[in-house]
Symmetry: C2
Subunit: 98 residues, 2 copies
DNA sequence: GCTTACCGTAAGTTATGACTTACCGAGAGC
DNA sequence: GCTCTCGGTAAGTCATAACTTACGGTAAGC
């Protein structure tokens, strides 16, 4: 989650949501240098959000279904929790009105 | 989204998911000082994730349903998109195998 | 085998932002 | 009216991390 805080890193992450890509292909689309992209990928990989596989000379990065799933689970729990809080707040507001 | 990058700020955000709270109540639960909490709340408010209302002497913060909804919509789109990419990748993998 | 493309890592710079202390204004209670 | 709590803002410090250039190592292509 902290890994998605940086806008550039989030852009890379969203770009990978379109499908796997090599580092060079990512870098040409980004306003930053290739090493910068490489470092961001390292962070994303450490966060478990991204996978890499060797393809001949190049290295192909793609989203990690497990990491994405964990992220989704976190938010699903959050929505449920927040929704409960909203309802409670609404009821309390109603009580105040009545 | 960038606003949720900081762990402390995310902790405040999650704390508000339990229900509205005053600044002081938040600060006593947090390992940081009250002004720090205040600054984080300012960022969250600017990001549209949080609402504040005056209650006598104190200021009560709560989640902003609109902001939370927008966040949720963003992720819903993302899941759908990423899921499509996963399927395509799987199919391509199958083709390679066959 | 030599060059060329691709990529990761190291080192260094710089900017950003998270946090603190100190200060100030505003409402509550006696 | 005076005090006391609550909370936002200012100023300043410090750490983190995002980015660059430079380098090295590995696979492909001729």
């Amino acid at each position: 989650m902290t890994a998605l805080g940086d806008p550039t890193r989030r852009a890379i992450f969203e770009r990978l949501a379109d499908g796997p890509s090599s580092v060079g292909a990512l870098a040409t689309d980004m306003p930053v240098s290739r090493p910068a992209v490489s470092q961001h990928l390292k962070v994303l990989k450490a966060a478990g959000l991204v996978l890499d596989r060797q393809a001949g000379n190049r290295r192909i990065y793609s989203l990690d279904p497990d990491g994405v799933g964990a992220l989704r689970a976190y938010f699903e729990r959050f929505w449920a929790h927040a929704l409960g809080a909203f309802k409670q707040a609404a009821e309390r507001r109603d009580e105040e009105v009545s």
